[in-house]
């Protein structure tokens, strides 16, 4: 027992009685306050806030019973025991005292041993009470602290994960946390070439720890998507990042998908999440991507595989990603919603909006009003068939500078580098550092990636783009590409960029030369059917797109050299009122200094 000293209020009109008690209390190390009647007792109780009261009953002015009632009626935060100490020894006196709010009753005269034992006993009880109050207080402070941290955490987390990319009209999503924080993370962003990248990550566990584990993914996902890195490279980087940050028993299941409407492909990497589904217009599962990899953050770099599965779609539909919180959502009988439940909830609804609401409604009905045991999230991408030939970018802003600094960049990649470097994002990373080119990142990505992929795929790897037009050809093409690239030992691609001024325009010339055998460009490109509606879908579309963006596209050599000119902006030298035109409208520039094939 703590030797905490009590302050004891002794109320008695007989000084001898009061002195006796006072002597016992002081000997035990307690402090005493004296009062001669009930009224004084109330006043001293209020001013001194004693820990314990000894109260006589028969006193002048106000008796002890009345005083006890008054004291008990006063607002108080703590319990102050009242011990009646009276010569009245009848049963009804004792009951009356206890009913008035007394905790104990000692009949006078009492032995010193009894008084000492009583005081000691109350000292123990009061010390327990003090401890409990201190604990409750501490707990309250902890809780307030935790709530404050939670509030701050939730705010920061929501800012960090609030991606304007999720507000893309193609996307619908929900994320219902099991606690304040969700360990499920949804991200979406457009790559420079209009490809839509999405990520649904589910960190092991839930709550703040899980939310923290998923956090490092956002930055890498957004920055690599913005730079146009391919999905496998993004998966590898996300894994590397988590592996270096998380302890061995923490990991993050994730599904990454790239939706390329122009090429009509959906590319998926699924590590540990439920199957990703592609539902066609009739509500049938047209494609399904099961988990093919361990979750992120488990395997070391050299064992990790970022290999994706790419599928060509021929009809519009909805791509659906979810966390296992959705498939394992339990109904009151313990049954799981399951991947079939996900499919069934959506298959009857027509249109993405209706499907999305049906899915949400379906899981809510299944849960039957109970909260989920785990974080529940889903992301739906409506995937259209879009046969636009024209890609429009925002109108370039005119440059107000009178003179443009000229700039030139020459690069040469050998087989060794081509095997493992993501050339397109690496090069565009440089190029778009140039202030004048920043606004053109999207168009330049498309142009450069088409030219580079042609040089690599057709020039060095000898792939035939006609393969893509067969059924299952795209998958075959991608497989061949991977195999041949891994074996590439010779060959080189030279790239040159030159930003300069022609008349009043700022232009960027890009040329690319590969060491491959080239192709019969005169025959192929002069053939009026080559870019006709039928063939354009399968191949030639890339070149048509480049032509659409550049105006001037010139092949030379064996067809292994290509040169394009992209109009960056009109330089406004004198007239501030000059019309601003979009890059795609400058398709008039036929008169270049070569006699080669030109669009």
């Amino acid at each position: 027992m703590s030797s905490h000293s009590l302050s004891i209020l002794i109320v008695d009109d007989t000084p001898t009685n009061a002195k006796q008690l006072e002597a016992v209390a002081r000997k035990l190390g307690h402090h005493t306050i004296l009062a001669g009647n009930g009224e004084e007792a109330i006043a001293r109780f209020q001013s001194e806030q004693p820990d314990l009261i000894f109260l006589d009953i028969m006193m002048p002015v106000m008796d002890g019973i009345t005083a006890a009632r008054h004291i008990r009626a006063l607002p108080s935060e703590k319990w102050t025991p009242i011990v009646f100490f009276s010569a009245l020894d009848q049963m009804q006196d004792i009951v009356r005292g206890l009913e008035a709010g007394g905790d104990d009753y000692i009949v006078k005269p009492a032995s010193l041993h009894i008084l000492r034992a009583k005081i000691n006993s109350y000292a123990r009880m009061l010390s327990l009470q003090r401890e409990a109050r201190a604990n409750a207080e501490e707990l309250r402070n902890w809780r307030m602290d935790a709530e404050e941290q939670s509030r701050l955490g939730a705010h920061v987390m929501s800012r960090l994960t609030d991606a304007s990319g999720l507000r893309d009209p193609m996307i619908r999503h929900f994320n219902m946390p099991a606690e304040t924080f969700s360990g499920d993370l949804l991200c979406a962003a457009r790559a420079p070439g209009e490809v839509l990248n999405v990520l649904l990550a589910d960190a092991a566990g839930h709550g703040l720890a899980a939310a923290l584990s998923a956090m490092p993914l956002t930055q890498a996902f957004y920055s690599m998507t913005a730079k146009g890195f391919p999905l496998p490279s993004i998966a590898e980087e996300l894994n590397r990042k988590l592996k270096s940050i998380l302890p061995p028993d923490r990991f993050v299941a994730a599904t990454l998908a790239a939706i390329d409407v122009r090429n009509q492909t959906v590319e998926v990497w699924n590590g540990g999440n439920p199957d990703a589904l592609f539902l066609n217009a009739r509500g049938e599962v047209a494609m399904q991507w099961a988990s093919n990899h361990p979750p992120l953050g488990i395997l070391p770099d050299k064992l990790f595989s970022g290999m994706t599965e790419t599928v060509v779609f021929h009809e519009p539909g909805d791509l659906v990603l979810c966390s296992d919180g959705l498939t394992e959502a339990e109904n009151p009988a313990g049954g799981w919603f399951s991947i079939d439940g996900v499919r069934d909830a959506m298959s009857q609804a027509r249109g993405s909006e209706a499907r999305f609401s049906s899915l949400l409604q379906g899981v809510m009905d299944h849960l039957g009003g109970h909260p989920g045991r785990d974080d529940i999230s889903a992301l739906l991408v409506s995937v259209p068939i879009d046969r636009r030939r024209q890609i429009r970018f925002d109108t370039p802003t005119p440059s107000h500078q009178g003179h443009l600094a000229e700039w030139r960049l020459d690069l040469s990649y050998g087989a060794q580098e081509l095997r493992y470097i993501d050339v397109v994002p690496a090069v565009l990373g440089f190029v778009t550092q140039i202030q004048a080119l920043k606004a053109h990142q999207g168009a330049l990505f498309l142009i450069f990636s088409e030219l580079f992929n042609n040089a690599l795929d057709h020039g060095l790897l000898g792939l035939d783009s006609a393969t893509k037009s067969w059924i299952g050809g795209f998958e075959l093409y991608m497989r061949q590409r991977g195999e041949r690239l891994a074996k590439l030992r010779t060959g080189r691609i030279d790239i040159a960029f030159q930003l300069h001024q022609i008349d009043s325009r700022a232009v960027l010339d890009i040329s690319m030369t590969d060491t491959g055998p080239g192709f019969d460009f005169e025959k192929r490109l002069n053939n009026p059917d080559a870019l006709g509606a039928g063939n354009e879908l399968a191949y030639g579309r890339g070149i048509a797109l480049v032509k659409n963006l550049c105006g001037q596209v010139v092949y030379s050599g064996n067809g292994n050299k290509v040169w394009v000119r992209y109009v960056v902006s009109d330089l406004i030298v004198e007239s501030e009122e000059a019309e601003v035109e979009t890059a795609t409208q400058h398709s008039d520039g036929a008169g270049d200094d070569t006699d080669l094939v030109m669009f």
Binding site: G205, P248, S291, P294
Partner: protein, 101 residues
Amino acid sequence: MSVTLNQQAGIGTLSISGNFTFGIHREFRRLSEQALDDPACKQLDMDLAGVQYLDSSALGMLLLAREKAAAQGKQIRLKGATGHALQILQAVKFDQMFELV
């Protein structure tokens, strides 16, 4: 749910039954460390035949045990998983990291 350890002829067998979730992590950790720290135990089998459900924290516990085993040059095998437990282990490709028997 319960966790028990049996050791015989240099092979420790940690049998888990019921729901393999965070609720058993103390016992799981204590017994797996006991087995792995024992020089007589050359291999640790996780008997999952009695597991009805396992969640991500169970996967985390297995990964942690695997790391500890690897540091001591020992092997961990996952035995007898069926139904949901097996599906989960396959979905996260634990068959690439553990020997599944």
